[in-house]
Subunit: 327 residues, 2 copies
């Protein structure tokens, strides 16, 4: 007996079997526990989707900013946004943890609980994973999904001149929340202010709307991605891959009251958050058809030509840049 | 221009886009490059499988022992062995890399090439992934597979008293190869001796036989796993989960000439490698039917009772233990 409470036990003290048991208790699934997970049969005439995303402590999250639960939830959101952006729905998630020996078992449990609870509204379970030893905590999630029916997936190269640019979800709020955390130094130090707390939550655990991707695909949306590395960066990828240019409508992008409020407090122009901030996991795409339910218009798709791939009201955006995961 | 050869460029110098481009060049796939990979439609009446495994530099591999190509190949082998152990065949692989800023881009390319070439005999491509920054190199692979037809998967809890214990592949050779590397200190220092070099290769890049899992499932094998953490450890898991005991036949387990040769040189009893060594990714299972092609008999399944879960010729094995990924 170590005399420590179970939650204070480290993963090295607990060992592999007990750590896996803790994960399975926090995010239960009958499917989990064998060499590979056997997924439920998919509906006839469907294809599978697969995507993976990694979060590294100190790079993508810090425990004085985010709770372990939020880290697990955010990892799910990132992966499920990628499944949504193809027009599919997620059906399973797997988690690999590379964890330092002194990581508390309770932290692992909370990460797994975040994964399980964030996946639950989609009727998705944590069906498998791996736990190994490392010097830095690395949370690697893989989502599998299903693309029902014969319609094409929404691809990043599917934008066509004349399309409308559309979006579903807030833009810039995650970046604003990160700026708030950076400004005050820690989650604890952030004032008890409804706007600031809401922005911080949108950074630490951005949320998706279940079904939003499938709705867009059913409405004939042909190109889509999610706002993960920054609005301009992600839209530039979409424009370049599609061989088009995008002109955004400044009015549609105007920062909302929350962003202006935080921007004034922090001395930051909120347009920077809107144009370059990522990790909202907002779905952004283009369509030749009626704007689907839950989406709004952001601009217009133009043909290839000289000048920047993405403009705002016909001009070069006032802020550029975004997130490069290796630079 | 840095003046450096492209292979000497670091991932931080190259940035995210160029690193992803290098991976896609080394392991090309038309399916790669969108938010999520859209997999080919699976045959009717099939279910999907998913599994994930992580390799950490300094824990699971060292570049003075293994080439980057071998690290990628071994990661594929580990994952595909798990798909095989269910009776399925792999259909797609995704790779996440958490890489230190100073990692050479050429190393990333070689890891990806190892993934692509090891997956190629299965007609499987690297269809997606993620690259992020970290202090330690973490290679996280996920394999998706297909389990064709309505027969049950081979599960770890499917052993029944009266079954024969069966195996396909060498046992103990990866552990012997690791011991050789540890004894001589580095790959370079290993003598130019056919046996030693072969054992080292079996540690650095163990190989699977394509289709071996499906063959077993078609032959009615009901329980299976792979030898990843050590023969006794993996068979103990299978016995415990199945609620049975396994008695192995000492003659069938007898170390082969290669193991005796290396054992004598290193002063190690080769039985230790056979009983406790992992990472051969040998398929081990139990069956009520005829032993499938490519498999051999290792022992017999007994009913639950007192005493150890796994015995050799009715006795407690002379070596116990195995790999705990967190201890």
């Amino acid at each position: 007996m170590t005399g420590k409470a179970p939650g204070k036990l480290t993963v090295a003290q607990a060992g592999e079997a007990a750590t896996i048991a803790a994960i399975r208790e926090a995010a239960p699934s009958e499917t989990n526990g064998d060499d590979a997970a056997v997924l439920d049969p998919a509906p006839p005439n469907s294809r599978h989707l697969a995507t993976t995303d990694v979060l590294v402590e100190g790079v993508h999250f810090r425990f004085d900013w985010s709770t372990p639960f939020e880290v697990g939830a955010k990892a799910v959101t990132q992966n499920f946004a990628d499944i949504q952006a193809m027009g599919g729905r997620p059906t399973a998630v797997l988690m690999s943890l590379a964890a330092p020996a002194d990581l508390e078992l309770g932290v692992v449990s909370e990460i797994a609980r975040g994964v399980g609870e964030c996946a639950a509204p989609w009727a998705v379970e944590l069906v498998g994973g791996d736990v190994v030893s490392s010097t830095q905590l690395v949370v690697s999630l893989t989502a599998v999904g299903v693309l029902a029916g014969p319609d094409p997936a929404m691809t990043i190269d599917g934008a066509v001149p004349g399309h409308e640019v559309i979006a579903s979800g807030v833009i810039g709020h995650s970046a604003a929340g990160e700026a708030v955390l950076r400004y005050f130094g820690s989650r604890e130090a952030v004032p008890d202010d409804a706007v600031l707390q809401d922005l911080v939550r949108r950074h630490c655990a951005p949320e998706l709307v279940v079904g939003r991707g499938s709705v867009a695909r059913a409405a004939g949306v042909s190109s889509m991605t999610d706002n993960s590395d920054g609005l301009l960066r992600d839209l530039t990828s979409l424009a370049t891959r599609s061989g088009v240019r995008l002109d955004l409508d400044g009015t549609a992008l105007t920062p909302d009251a929350q962003l202006y409020y935080a921007g004034e407090m922090l001395g930051v122009d909120p347009w920077e958050w809107v144009l370059t901030g990522g990790e909202d996991h907002t779905l952004i795409g283009t369509t030749a058809h009626q704007v689907p339910a839950g989406y709004r218009t952001l601009g217009t798709v133009r043909g290839a030509g000289d000048g920047p791939a993405v403009t705002v009201d016909g001009h070069m955006p006032i802020y550029t840049g975004g997130w490069d995961s290796l630079a």
